[in-house]
């Protein structure tokens, strides 16, 4: 029996396109398959997805990417999470970290124990029980695999990188593994008359690219999935009303910090993504509430460094294709949908799609049941991320602009209502298996947005009060010790840039051992000498 699917064509050479080509060439190989990527240099890439979530390390590992090479090649910085200033209310800030809150005990989440302690009058913020948050506060970073201290919490991280450099990095890798790149603009798509399958693409220079399986990575317009198949679009702008982003890079004014900042603004929010060589900025907004010109002006006035380019405007509609896979064509990345970059999920959703395509690879042709399964699973992914994003807007005390009044009062999906109610009453959202954002993330964001649970799991009441405090203090100890042992993020990056591996921690101020000796003449510190 021979494989009927041998020629894979990737349409578009942005981040999604080159991620797909690199992954397929690594996993499927190019000896039995031909992989062709068609892109046009005339068509720019969007590349807003400069921030990622930790799952990207899995993707890079599958590709056998050397992390240090990758960090250097993409001007990457490490990312411990996202800071959300002004979301709950103006002047307030919270952190959504990668990694865990405390340590689960007795079969229930740590947060229940924390809630019990809080209800008894404790007031040490839950974020003190998360190592990534504490490290971010102190702008420290380290890959914990490099330090062999047991019992300390690990540090979970992702990257902030230049997406176009990442695409170039992946392109080099893919081409080395035998991916053929064809330069040209697609002017016509040929379908099989009866089946409707895409058979070939015609380029502007007259060449024809034939294929058995097409990955549509053509961006917002969805050249095949929408242009050919009219897959349709679930428009989610009722819940996620932002529809524009204006982006501009600026000079660095401080060493790069190990986290992304997403600051709530009058009609949306502003991202700040520190890279090694520049800072990425953008204002994601709804043009119903602020004009493009005004949003651009606001963004430019809120940069902390000198702009490096003219601001670039992107238009989008939040939502997802009704079908991601139609016949022999699958859409990935922006051509499949756009959930706005608030939680840096764009690249992750590409990665998920790639993993599913590989898992369900149509070696012997296209089975409708498999395609349905794929579409259902991808929809589930987008749908859950959507609910998580909506929660950021909806759970808020902000009432200072029409935009915030709208999102605070808008109707929300039943699935989200259920989660919020569960959280309010029992301190957990009971996320289903397979959901991207787990309890820790929901807790960080919901509590950060101001929704504090009224109760907690009864198991947390079983231990004695002393035992409770002891357990909490042990968790806190592990975190402070972990963070005390970490170098500053900027020093870590510098050491990496020099090709060396991790450096140790720096001094911490006065202790018995390292107190700064005060010179004898500086007794001016005394206000005086008094007799008892």
């Amino acid at each position: 029996m021979t494989n009927s699917v041998k020629n894979i064509v990737v349409v578009g050479g942005g981040t999604a396109g080159w991620m797909s080509a690199a992954a397929l060439s690594k996993v499927m190989g190019t000896s039995q398959y031909t992989i062709t990527l068609v892109e046009s240099e005339q068509i720019g890439t969007v590349g807003v997805g400069e921030a990622t979530i930790p799952m990207i390390t899995l993707f890079n590992n599958v590709l056998e990417i050397n992390e240090d090479d990758f960090v250097r090649a993409t001007n990457a910085t490490f990312k411990l999470g996202i800071e959300f200033p002004d979301w709950k209310k103006l002047g307030h800030s919270y952190f959504h970290p990668f990694g865990l809150l405390g340590v689960d005990m007795d079969g229930i989440a740590f947060t229940h124990f924390w809630l019990r302690w809080m209800k008894q009058g404790g007031n040490l913020d839950y974020s003190k029980f998360n190592a990534e948050t504490e490290a971010a506060r102190q702008r420290k970073f380290m890959r914990t695999a490099e330090q062999k201290v047991m019992l300390l919490p690990r540090i979970n991280y992702a990257y902030q990188f230049d997406a176009s450099l990442y695409a170039q990095f992946l392109r080099k890798m893919a081409e080395q593994r035998g991916v053929r790149r064809e330069e040209g603009r697609i002017v016509k798509v040929n379908q099989a008359p009866e089946s409707g399958m895409v058979q070939s693409l015609e380029l502007d220079d007259g060449r024809t690219i034939r294929g058995d399986f097409f990955l549509d990575c053509s961006g917002f317009r969805g050249l095949l999935i929408e242009g050919v198949y009219k897959a349709g679009y679930h428009d989610w702008s009722h819940w996620l009303p932002v529809n524009r982003a204006v982006a501009v890079p600026c000079d660095m004014v401080e060493p790069p910090i190990p986290y992304t900042r997403a600051t709530a603004r009058e009609a949306g929010w502003q991202w700040r993504i520190p890279l090694q060589h520049r800072t990425g900025n953008g204002y994601v907004f709804s043009d119903q509430f602020v004009s493009e010109d005004e949003a651009t002006m606001k963004l430019m006035s809120r940069l902390d460094g000198k702009p490096q380019a003219e601001p670039r405007l992107l238009k989008f509609v939040t939502g997802v294709r009704k079908k991601s896979w139609v016949k022999n064509c699958v859409s990935l990345g922006l051509s499949n949908g756009f959930l706005e970059p608030l939680e840096s999920t764009s690249i992750h959703l590409v990665q998920v799609a790639i993993a599913k395509i590989l898992a369900m690879f149509p070696r012997d042709g296209f089975d409708e049941r498999l395609i349905e399964r794929y579409n259902a699973e991808m929809h589930f992914e987008y749908d859950n991320v959507k609910d998580f994003l909506i929660a950021h807007y909806h759970v808020t005390e902000r009432d200072d602009t029409p935009f915030w009044n709208y999102v605070r009062n808008m109707s929300i999906p039943d699935s989200l209502t259920e989660k919020l109610e569960l959280f309010r009453t029992r301190g957990e959202v009971m996320a289903k298996a397979g959901e991207l954002f787990r309890e820790t993330s929901w807790f960080a964001v919901l509590a950060g947005q101001g929704l504090m649970p009224e109760s907690y799991h009864p198991v947390a009441d079983v231990i004695s009060e002393d035992d409770l405090r002891l357990r909490l203090s042990k968790v806190r100890t592990g975190i402070t010790e972990r963070v005390n042992g970490m170098p500053l993020h900027k020093d870590y990056l510098e050491t990496m840039a020099q090709g060396a591996s991790a450096s140790g921690p720096r001094g911490q101020g006065a202790t018995f051992e390292s107190a700064t000796p005060a010179p004898a003449q500086t007794t001016g510190g005394f206000q005086g000498l008094v007799n008892r």
Partner: protein
């Protein structure tokens, strides 16, 4: 028939007064004894600190003082021991941790195995076999399960900011209904039998069946007793001046206080939650006040802030119970604030008084046994302090040469001789510090016994090495699982909640 004691008047100040009031109230308040306090003006300043031994935990439990509350209010921190530095020339500092060292094996004390291994070339300090010392060095709180409890008795005392500590104890006492007499102490009317009444400014007076003097060094009541005689210990305890000062908080709370010897005395450094308390003790014949102050930042390696407070110190003892007046704390005996014993003396006074509370207001034969007991305690504590001085190995200054050669009280001399000969610690009656404490400071100061128990030689050398390694491994593992003092404090005595969580 005996006339029972129905009223007690405590004349005193600061912690001694209010701890005593609480102690007597908890014991005899339910029996209908009235406890009143005539408070003298505080002599505490913002710079002062109370450093306590682990026994303070028991005292607090007895008095109903909640640990988390008092730590929070009095900016306290737990401490697992004291580290002595610069007492012995170039020798490294040692830690007097409130814990045992090692575990006995086959009925032979660990010390003897350690002495033998040392003779065979091992270079591991005795304190390295102590869970408490290891925890203290890492700034961890020795909290552990039953497995470790068979091996270690590690526990902790406290440092408290003195002024808020007194406020907290006073307010608890007043909440419980202990009466604080409004008025200013003017003196006392005494006869040969004791105090008739305590006089107030303005002519009024207060009387009671039993009087307690908790006025500290002033001994405002005791010094008025016709039989009073103060026995000065200044000949053997060398420091007669004290400076109290403040430095910034240490960035990581250590698990111990630091006791640094300097050319004319010693400096105590006591970390607190919000600041670091510093005390300098010195002999005014060797160092002047201004020299001491100039040297303080250099010696302590801390930047001193705010006022430094100078006071005199007169060490010594008196008969604590004379007639119907019982002196407690500094009024009964005064030591240097070395070894964190000041509130412990108050504790001893209170518990001894509770157990010997007079049954007859007219005649108090309990005084004799009370005085014997208190003198025993005070002398044992004094000897513990003297041992530090006597065993010093500083040959760089006349002060240290002199204190090394001060003639020792016979009890201490024989104690040191016995230990030096065969590693045996003699424990007296009325002893505050136990065998492990004596062992810790004697070995720490370099008094290494000349011989060891030959039963320790029965273990083959390889087996002994394995035994030691297992013990060290066990300690390292246990200690790494203990919470840090820093984290414990954040949870026990949290600061007010922040507006933002990032």
């Amino acid at each position: 028939m005996a006339r029972p004691v129905q009223s007690v008047l405590i004349v005193g100040r600061d912690a001694a007064a209010w701890l005593t009031a609480l102690g007597l109230f908890r014991a005899f308040g339910p029996a209908g004894v009235t406890i009143r306090v005539l408070e003298l003006p505080s002599i505490l300043t913002k710079a002062d600190v109370y450093a306590t031994l682990p026994s303070q935990q028991a005292l607090h439990r007895l008095l109903g003082i909640d640990e988390a509350d008092i730590l929070r209010v009095a900016k306290g921190v737990p401490v697992l021991g004291q580290r002595f530095a610069n007492w012995s020339g170039a020798a490294p500092p040692f830690l007097h941790a409130y814990d045992t060292q090692g575990a006995p094996f086959s009925g032979v004390e660990f010390l003897h195995y350690w002495l033998r291994a040392r003779e065979e070339g091992m270079n591991v300090a005795l304190e390295d076999f102590s869970v408490g010392a290891a925890a203290a060095k890492q700034g961890r709180l020795a909290i552990f399960g039953p497995e470790t409890a068979t091996f270690s008795r590690a526990t902790y005392g406290y440092h408290f900011d003195a002024q808020p500590y007194v406020r907290a104890v006073r307010s608890l006492a007043q909440r419980l209904g202990i009466e604080r007499i409004e008025g200013q102490f003017a003196g006392a009317e005494t006869t040969r039998d004791g105090i008739q009444k305590v006089l107030l400014v303005g002519g009024e007076s207060v009387s009671a069946d039993l009087y307690v003097d908790a006025t500290g060094a002033e001994a405002a009541l005791a010094c008025r007793m016709p039989t009073d005689r103060f026995e000065d210990w200044g000949k053997c305890l060398p420091c007669n001046r004290m400076i109290a000062a403040t430095a910034p908080r240490l960035s990581q709370l250590p698990g111990f206080s630091q006791v640094l010897a300097h050319a004319g005395g010693w400096i105590g450094i006591y970390p607190l939650q919000t600041r670091t308390a510093v005390q300098a003790l010195y002999d005014s014949g060797v160092v002047s006040d201004s020299e001491m102050i100039d040297a303080l930042p250099v010696l302590s390696r801390l930047s001193i802030e705010g006022d430094a407070v100078v006071s005199g110190l007169r060490t010594g003892i008196r008969e604590a119970w004379q007639g119907n007046c019982v002196a407690i704390g500094g009024a009964a005996s005064m030591l240097e604030p070395l070894d964190a014993t000041s509130l412990h003396s108050v504790h001893i006074g209170i518990s001894t008084l509770v157990s010997l509370f007079p049954v007859d207001a007219e005649k108090m034969p309990e005084a004799r046994i009370y005085n014997t007991s208190l003198r025993g305690h005070a002398e044992n504590l004094r000897d513990f302090q003297l041992a530090h001085y006597h065993l010093n190995r500083r040959f760089d200054s006349p002060f240290w040469n002199k204190v090394r050669d001060v003639p020792l009280p016979p009890g201490l001399a024989s104690r040191l001789a016995l230990f030096g000969a065969r590693g045996r610690v003699l424990i007296n009656d009325n002893e505050t510090f136990q065998e492990e404490n004596w062992l810790s400071i004697l070995i720490g100061h370099g008094l290494i016994p000349r011989s060891w128990d030959q039963l320790a030689g029965k273990m083959p050398q390889a087996e002994q090495i394995g035994f030691f390694q297992r013990m060290l491994g066990f300690i390292a593992k246990e200690v790494s699982g203990m919470p840090s003092i820093e984290a414990h404090m954040e949870l026990t005595a949290p600061a007010s909640a922040p507006q933002s969580s990032f």
